[in-house]
Symmetry: C2
Subunit: 510 residues, 2 copies
């Protein structure tokens, strides 16, 4: 049996919030896609004389990172001509942007993720048209499969309040008749009956069983305002009976907070608690507008949170109360939402943003430690994606998802002598320092270049794909969308105008 | 006369908040350190047939960036074993960290700045001991001179409230007698009589005149709580009569806000207005805790603000109200404070942080545009550093401080077709994309490598310098400092505990 001994000046074996376990001049032994042995390099070298060797003294070896919220987009909306801006109009503008080949987009996303050290992704695809569910999901999964990434696949579904947070028919009446009719056509084209959603899962669960080493499945009601109570109950029941985790957006913006208050007379979290929807099987993405009471309910129910720091800044959503969540013991994972700080899906850079963004002012305030942030991006992400106790650590029995990071840049400073390697990689490293990535024992990045796919070729094909002249229908659609935007802004004008007491204090008007 | 024609696919000639001026397939002609001509490449090529050529179609050409607040530190405190944390204890902890060779530290800082496209720096050195003022300033200036950077040199000075924001003698009484005596020794060693500060400027103003092309001089009372009213009046008078700008820290933390309220019964800005200290010659760094009334006074007096986004996050200071400042028409420049997002002094990365950090939630909120952010990091920085109308733009008569950025990474996406090059460089580029840097017509970075100094050699010497075993005296000093920290935290326990109304709303407790 071929085996590989991976050596590092530092080997981070088990990220832990209160201080990660690590080895100096350590090694891990990979065999058959799993980690078989971990320890001091010299001892492992003696125990496994036939293993080929990888890495060395100029590397930090760490578990592959987990991006726990991603939509599989290789190009960010910015790349497609939709500038960052507040979510509610932005998400409708996106409906009018040029369609992109799903396979190429997914493959390019996977390449960027691999190249910057991410090995597992919560791949949350937005459902397109009913007739294309299988085709679209195969294209998306195909891009990630060809790249060799590990994924938890979830299909995001919504069936109401799709333009603003009120009934579609009611909102359409606010529009001029001609615009209203055109929007109705767009909505009809994207309509998927709820039973189609469940039938899709009926098909995909067995179909993906043979890829279970690499692929897990989750359900995904997109967000509270986009799903009826009945649908949420049905999804929870289906997920429970099929032992699937549930991943959903929640409280991304202040308007989503307001929607729940207006609709249910209580917070979004309180309403989900009433529906008995919350639980250890549920991860909620964003969670920016959780109140203190919400945080207690999230914590008590064991619900997980996926924090998307860069996306929340870009879309003017706000800053999630990560510190209060951590202090209540909530499991917080990290995601880029296909909207990373540098639009390159580099989770190292987003880890650093998280490490610095939640440094609430004042001497009594705590800041997330480097160990906490690395734990979010590994162990906690593994839990959120259904790979708990399988990835996120470099321990015997875990899958061999391993990143080798060059120490060059870090070593130009004496940080490794005065701070730890975890601090070094959270505060100083980035995706361009990634040298080698292994997933399940397969090398997918070597010398900083993805080997499973040809980046230049995929990029060129993707560029050609999005550079095609829009069709007459695409132009019409974009024009209609542009006409709707002012009505969306008008709709929310009186929403959430009250004063708020922030979790953090960053500045003061008086 | 040797001249150089610098060509770019895009040439950003004049950053402007409401839309920068730029050329497609443009060029600038450098001669004798100045820009002599700007226009379409083909026309310039014809007009200047003898000029040698640089750049080409794979570059964005832009003005060198200006870092308007920097302390000349090549290693961040993190590198020296002082982790990021709230300013008040952190700044005292820094007094106990290992001293670093000033020349090597400055040279390494300058290398990092150059390599990431910064060409002008507000170099704010903290005054050490009275007897070493000349020696220390020569070492600092020497590092930047050898690198070839343009600087505005200012010596930061303080003479009171140096451990906490109360009289040193009063605070010392809070300490155990032995600790108190040891701290007194440390304070005495760093004491510089005010007249020494002015005599230093008497010497340095004429001494630096011959370097005036590259070096400007500013005065720098460190911060309000560290300077008496008399000293502030004297500095203002001296600066006015010598036509020097003034650069000072102000309202970096909530405790500095509180100090002014407790001491003067009014805000720090109102007190400076009473002293007739504010004005177009003054730039204030940080300005995190400006109230709405403060912002009006800053705007009305023409005082400039230097925003240090990454430093303010790292030191848990807060987030400056940049949007209210911009909407009042205040000139805002950018600095890294030797505490950049990635601890590498890459202002591209800090520009991106600024572009994303001030995206206040809500549909009515505005976000800084890429053009606004680039203007802060060029034109506005030029003003703050005393080089207004000399650097920050690529126009005839300006100094030839020019950055050539490779389009490779950016061009992998179609962004240059759907967004502008300014968006591309603010949202996607970073210092590693910098290919060539020219300052005053001299090439100081070529193929991404600094040519004026040897990075590896300086890094190795710096590493050796800080790796030396601390002396017995240094160990004693660090021990004393460690004993003082709990008293500092105790001192501020009752300070600034009231509720605050934030400028921005990012989340909500209720």
């Amino acid at each position: 049996m071929a085996s590989t001994l991976i050596r590092g000046k530092y080997v981070i074996t088990s990220p832990k919030a209160d201080g990660s376990d690590l080895l100096t001049d350590g090694a891990v032994l990979e065999e058959n896609g799993f980690i078989q042995d971990v320890g001091a390099f010299e001892q492992l070298r003696q125990r496994h004389p036939d293993a080929k060797e990888m890495g060395g003294n100029q590397y930090i070896v760490l578990p592959g990172l987990v991006n726990a919220h991603h939509h599989g987009n290789g190009l960010s909306p910015l790349h497609l001509g939709v500038p960052d801006g507040p979510l509610e109009p932005w998400i409708v503008q996106r409906m009018g942007s040029k369609p992109v080949d799903i396979y190429l987009s997914a493959a390019y996303a996977a390449i960027k993720l691999l190249q910057s050290g991410t090995t597992t992704v919560m791949l949350n695809q937005s459902a397109g048209a009913a007739a294309r569910l299988d085709e679209d999901s195969q294209a998306m999964l195909g891009g990630f499969r060809d790249a060799g990434l590990r994924v938890c696949y979830s299909l995001g579904y919504r069936h109401q309040n799709r333009i603003v947070y009120e009934d579609d028919a009611t909102f359409l009446k606010r529009l001029p008749a001609e615009v209203s009719r055109a929007v109705q056509v767009i909505l009809d084209a994207g309509h998927i009956p709820a039973d189609e959603y469940f039938r899709f899962y009926d098909r995909i669960i067995p179909a993906l069983t043979e890829e279970r080493d690499r692929v897990r499945v989750a359900m995904s009601p997109s967000n509270l305002q986009w799903c009826s109570d009945g649908l949420l109950r049905d999804i929870k029941a289906y997920a429970t009976s099929n032992k699937l985790p549930i991943h959903m957006h929640l409280l991304e913006t202040v308007y989503q907070k307001e929607y729940a208050l207006r609709t249910f007379g209580k917070s979004a979290v309180a309403h989900l608690a009433d529906l008995q929807f919350l639980g250890t099987d549920v991860s909620i993405a964003h969670a920016v507008w959780l109140t203190e009471a919400d945080i207690r309910m999230v914590a008590d129910s064991g619900t997980q949170v996926c924090h998307n720091a860069s996306s929340n800044l870009k879309l003017q959503s706000g800053i999630a109360p990560v510190q209060p969540l951590l202090s209540r013991g909530v499991t917080v994972a990290l995601g880029t939402d296909s909207m990373s700080l540098n639009d390159d899906d580099d989770l190292f850079q987003d880890m650093r943003l998280v490490a610095q963004l939640h440094r609430n002012s004042g001497l009594d305030s705590t800041a997330p430690t480097a160990d906490q942030v690395l734990t979010m991006a590994t162990v906690n992400g593994a839990k959120a994606t259904g790979f708990e106790h399988e990835v996120g650590r470099l321990l015997p029995g875990y899958r061999a998802d391993i990143v080798l990071l060059r120490l060059d840049r870090i070593a130009q400073s004496p940080i490794d002598e005065v701070a730890g390697p975890v601090e070094a990689l959270v505060y100083l490293a980035d995706g361009r320092d990634v040298d080698t990535v292994m997933i399940g024992g397969q090398v997918v990045v070597q010398d900083g270049r993805v080997t499973s796919l040809n980046r230049e070729e995929i990029a060129a094909r993707l560029k050609e794909n999005v550079s095609q002249k829009p069709t007459a229908e695409e132009v019409r659609k974009a024009d209609v969308i542009a006409e709707v935007i002012p009505y969306i802004k008008e709709f929310y004008r009186e929403w959430a105008t009250y004063d708020l007491q922030p979790h953090y204090r960053y500045n003061s008007r008086a």
